[in-house]
Structures are given as structure tokens and as C-alpha cells.
Amino acid sequence: MSAIALTIDGLGVNFGGFRAVNNVSVTVFDGELRVLLGANGAGKTTLMDLVSGKTRSTQGKVFVYDTDITNWPEHRIARAGIGRKFQIPSIFRDLTVRQNLEVANCRNPSVLANLRFGFSRAEADRVDDVLTLTGLEAEQEMTAAYLSHGQTQWLELGMLIVQDPKVVLLDEPTAGMTQAETRKTAEIINNLKGRHTILVVEHDMGFVREIAEHITVLHLGEVLAEGSVEDIERNPKVREAYLGSKGIS
């Protein structure tokens, strides 16, 4: 059995009496791709906010490997090895595509360490590789604000790949994408599999089938079920709570 990359232990948050996430425990193994499924309001995004430090939890703990990162500031969590892609794509709009990736490529985050010019050959190669992987080579000198929606999403994925975190959190990476774009996104994510531990929030079942091994279903802030795609499709509780009587279509 491989090591546990991400441990969420009894995590919860209380927004003035409303428990958006309540006593959620999930363990994700090194190199695993885990999909978080759940209806609107099930607490998927809130769970990601809790793990990545955007929201402070009121109960439970989060570990990256053996490091307790519960309620650390965001940048320290990021340095501990958690990378995050937002639901609404967030990139540096006034920088070029290449510069966006170069910012993610600055390994040492301190100000003084970055008072230097340019990038080494190896670092530049790395950016080139990611440009190829995301299909953005032709746009690398373009201001990022002018990318299409799909390209923006890929750029953000690319920044994550360059950042090279141990654990990648992806919040609906295919939201608003055409079918062709979704397929390409699945390709990029499949390419990450194995090298990174990935936790994906997703609605699109076609996409989930294409990438998922293991699914965790959230419902009203709690874990409802966990298992393979087939297990989840057959699980009566899941059908009732989320999928309706027709199952996964």
C-alpha cells in the first residue's frame, strides 16, 4: 500500500450555526485521482476552501503526508505542497501566457531570492514542455486576458503543472467548456495522473468516467458514499440523494 498523500480528518466548518461541511474524513493515496461528487450545496467547494486555507475550519485536521496544515495561511499551505485550480478560472490577465507560467515557475517564493533576471535553461524547458502539453505554444506571447475560456482554463492547469504541487485540487475544471475542450482537459488531467495526487470536483459524468478511479460522494456537508464508479452508480443511497431514480446518465 502506498503512502497517504492527503488526509482530511473529521473536517468541518460552522458558518454561524450552518454546518456547510460537517465531520468529513477522506484519505487520498499518493498518486491517486479522486473525484468529489455531490449536488449543488453539498459542500464540495467549501471542502476545497478548507483544505487550501481559503476558509478556516472549526473542527478537524488536514495533513499533507505527515505535515499538519490545518488553518495555515494560504501561501504556506501552497508551499507545503497543495496546488489549487479555481472554479472561475483565475490567471494573471495582464501578463503574457508565458509569464503566467514563469511566475508559477519561481520555486523560491521569497522577495529577495527573486531579485534576479531571467530563467535557467532547465526552467525555460519546463515552461516549454507545459506550453506543449496545454497546446498554448502559439499563444505564449499573447496577453492572457485575450485567451478563450477553454484556453484560460488550460493555462491555469498549466500553471499548476509548473508549480508541481504534491496534491492538486481541481474545482470543476470543465465548467463552461465545449465537448472538444472537455476531452482535451481530460487528456491533460490523465497526463497528470500518477505523478500528482489529484482531487477533482466535477459534475460532468462523462468526464468523470473518463478520468475517475475512485469517487467520494458528498451530501449536505457529509460523506455519503465512497467507491469505484460502478459502486457509486449502484449505491441506492447515492441514487436517492443525488442521481435521482434514473441513475448516472
Binding site: H75, F86, S90, I91, F92, D94, L95, C106, V111, M159
Partner: protein, 379 residues
């Protein structure tokens, strides 16, 4: 190297050559006036650095300028002849004697309650060092408070604005120590390594030109570093930057402090050139005027903001001294601002950039002209 980059380097080289060549064409009076404008150019660079590159609109840059100015002015005041001819063998500022209580000792230590603060300023180097260090320390402390609390956008502007007014009030109120509204006048000359900087000499002009050139080149180099790129990334999306592992507030504080340091040095140079320091440096209108210079010159262009500051002041001087326009000059300056904001939202720097791009990438027939990047609104 891209052609655009060659144009940029050429622009810096031409500008710096021009300011160093200027003494050839003007008399001392004119040179003294241009020296002041070069100092304003430094303020333009300082504003562009925080506003354009960091997205921090500081409406209280006059605070750092004023503090720098007062620090050096205190030293120069003590080396002035008027301070030495007050019936004491040690220098005492004249205004302290005029306002001294009867029987008070005519010594800096105890002529009034606050006068001991002046003691270290008997050495010019103390004034010179503090003129840089104090603005930097204030900016560092303020920045740590504001940026650690994740205050951003218009709230930073309001805090800085309130702070400069507060300090101005204190300076005016502390009349026995600061000479209040009147400020510090009758100053001696700055002397460094045996060179006396007579405000109407070429040496002083070259000092200002050198400081401006160093500021421009230094600021330009620093925004070209990785840290400068990360700073711009933070301006665009500080949340994203945080999740890449950057401690956003440290970057903001770092560049805020550099900007304050530039303003502090500018304040000191202004005192050398204009021979006074006054609370008007901390007027709200002066801090806002700096922002206007940067807006006209182009806040995302360091050289643009610098040229904007110099150009507006030259126009202002010309217009206000033309008899027919004496009454109208403020309206004319206002009109220029309105026109620039309406038709060149990225200022002169942005317009120059577009022109260069247009020459470099003339569209081939049948192909649409490539879209130009727009600056996203900072506020």
C-alpha cells in the same frame, strides 16, 4: 531582442542624454527650475512603481517626500549662517530664538521642550541618512499593518490620504520644533565631500539629473526581475498568487518601501534645490497632483510617468507666465488632464507604446490589426 524592447531602451537613453545635455542651453535660473522638475520626475517614477506595477494607489506619497525634505532641511538649517549668528557659539534655528521664552538658555538642548530633537542634525550626514531611512521605516511599518491585514484598493488610498493629512497637522501644530506653517527657510548649502551644492549651480543640476537617472534605471531593472513580474502577477490576481505560494504582503511592502525611499530622496533633493521645506509638501493637493502626473504620463510606464511630471510642470510654468493666460492656466491644465484621460487612458507612455507597436506590426493586407492589450482598472 524584440524591436519594441530596442525602442524602450532607446527612449531611456535619449531621455537621460537629454537631461544631462540640458545645461548647455539654459541659464542658472532656468536650470534651477528644471532641477525641481527632475525631482518631480522622481515622484512620478515612485507613483508609477506602486500604482502601475503593484496596483497600490498611494494618495499620501507627499508624506514620504515631506519627511525626507524635513530631515535634510533640519540639517541644512543648522548649517545656515542665520543659525550661527544668534549670539551663541552653537547653531540655533532663528525661529526658536524669536519664540523663546524670556530667560531660556540659547542652546539647542533646552531652548524649548522639543528642541533637543534637533541635536543630531548638527551633522549633515544625519539629515541625509534619516531623509532616506525615516520614509523607508514609516513605509515599512505602514505597509506591514495595511498589507498584512489584506487591505487593498481604495481603502489603501483612504488610509494613506488620512495619514498624510494627520502628519501635516502634527507638523503645523509642533510650531516650536518645526516652525509650523512657515516651514524651514534660510537653509545652508548641502556639502558632500567638499563640494558645495549651490542651488543655482550646474553641480546641483547634475546631482538631480544623476539621481533621476539612477532612479529610472534602478526602478526599471527591479521591475524586470522575477520579483517585479511576481508583483505584477499579484496586482492582477493576489488570490492566485497566494495559492502559488507567494507571501503577497511581503511583495507589496517591499515595493511600497522602495517607492517611499525614492520619494524621500526626492524630498531631500527638493530642499537642496528650492532651499525650503514646508508643510505644503504634505498637502493633499500635492499628493494628488503627483498621481495626476503619473496618470498623464502613463502609470504603467516608469519613463512615461517621469516625463509626464516634467512636461506638465513645464507647460504649467509656461502657461502661468504668459500674460494673456494668467487667469486661465488652471483651466488649460485641467483641460489637458481631461483630454488625456478621455483619449489616452494609458497616458503618454501607453500611447507611445501603441505607436511603436503599430510601426512594428503593420497589419498585412486583409488581416485584422492585432488587438492591443488594455490595462485593467486598478481601482
Amino acid at each position: 531582442m524584440s524591436i519594441e524592447r530596442k525602442f524602450q531602451i532607446a527612449a531611456y537613453v535619449i531621455f537621460i542624454s537629454l537631461i544631462f545635455a540640458a545645461p548647455v542651453i539654459g541659464d542658472e535660473f532656468w536650470l534651477n527650475r528644471i532641477s525641481k522638475y527632475l525631482v518631480y520626475g522622481m515622484l512620478g517614477v515612485a507613483i508609477a512603481l506602486t500604482w502601475g506595477y503593484a496596483g497600490i494607489l498611494n494618495l499620501g506619497q507627499g508624506l514620504f517626500f515631506g519627511v525626507g525634505a524635513y530631515m535634510l532641511a533640519m540639517s541644512l538649517k543648522l548649517s545656515s549662517l542665520t543659525s550661527l549668528q544668534q549670539g551663541s557659539d552653537k547653531p540655533v534655528p532663528d525661529f526658536m530664538l524669536w519664540n523663546a521664552e524670556p530667560g531660556a538658555p540659547t542652546e539647542l538642548c533646552c531652548i524649548n521642550k522639543g528642541s533637543f530633537l534637533w541635536l543630531p542634525f548638527q551633522s549633515q550626514s544625519v539629515g541625509l541618512v534619516l531623509g532616506l531611512v525615516l520614509p523607508v521605516v514609516i513605509a515599512g511599518a505602514l505597509g506591514m499593518l495595511v498589507f498584512r491585514k489584506r487591505i487593498s484598493g481604495v481603502f489603501v488610498s483612504i488610509i494613506t490620504l488620512a495619514l498624510v493629512l494627520l502628519v501635516r497637522l502634527v507638523m503645523v501644530d509642533a510650531q516650536p520644533v518645526t516652525n509650523g506653517f512657515n516651514g524651514l527657510t534660510d537653509l545652508g548649502w548641502l556639502t558632500i565631500g567638499g563640494i558645495e551644492f549651490d542651488p543655482y549651480s550646474r553641480a546641483t543640476y547634475y546631482l538631480c539629473a544623476a539621481c533621476l537617472s539612477l532612479t529610472l534605471i534602478g526602478a526599471r531593472l527591479i521591475v524586470e526581475t522575477r520579483a517585479g513580474m511576481i508583483l505584477q502577477a499579484i496586482r492582477d490576481d493576489h488570490v492566485r498568487a497566494r495559492y502559488l505560494g507567494f507571501d503577497v504582503s511581503l511583495y507589496q511592502v517591499f515595493f511600497f518601501v522602495i517607492s517611499a525611499g525614492i520619494a524621500g530622496v526626492a524630498g531631500m533633493l527638493y530642499v537642496v534645490v528650492a532651499e525650503f521645506a514646508s508643510p505644503t509638501f504634505m498637502d493633499l493637493s500635492f499628493s494628488v497632483t503627483m498621481v495626476v502626473w503619473a496618470a498623464v504620463g502613463g502609470r504603467s510606464s516608469l519613463l512615461g510617468a517621469c516625463i509626464g511630471a516634467i512636461l506638465i510642470n513645464i507647460i504649467e510654468a509656461e502657461v502661468s507666465e504668459t500674460e494673456a493666460l494668467v487667469e486661465a492656466w488652471k483651466a488649460i491644465i485641467g483641460l489637458i488632464f481631461v483630454l488625456v484621460v478621455l483619449f489616452m487612458p494609458r497616458g503618454l507612455g501607453g500611447a507611445a507604446h501603441d505607436v511603436v507597436r503599430w510601426f512594428v506590426r503593420k497589419p498585412k493586407p486583409g488581416q485584422p490589426f492585432p488587438a492591443l492589450p488594455q490595462q485593467s482598472e486598478v481601482l
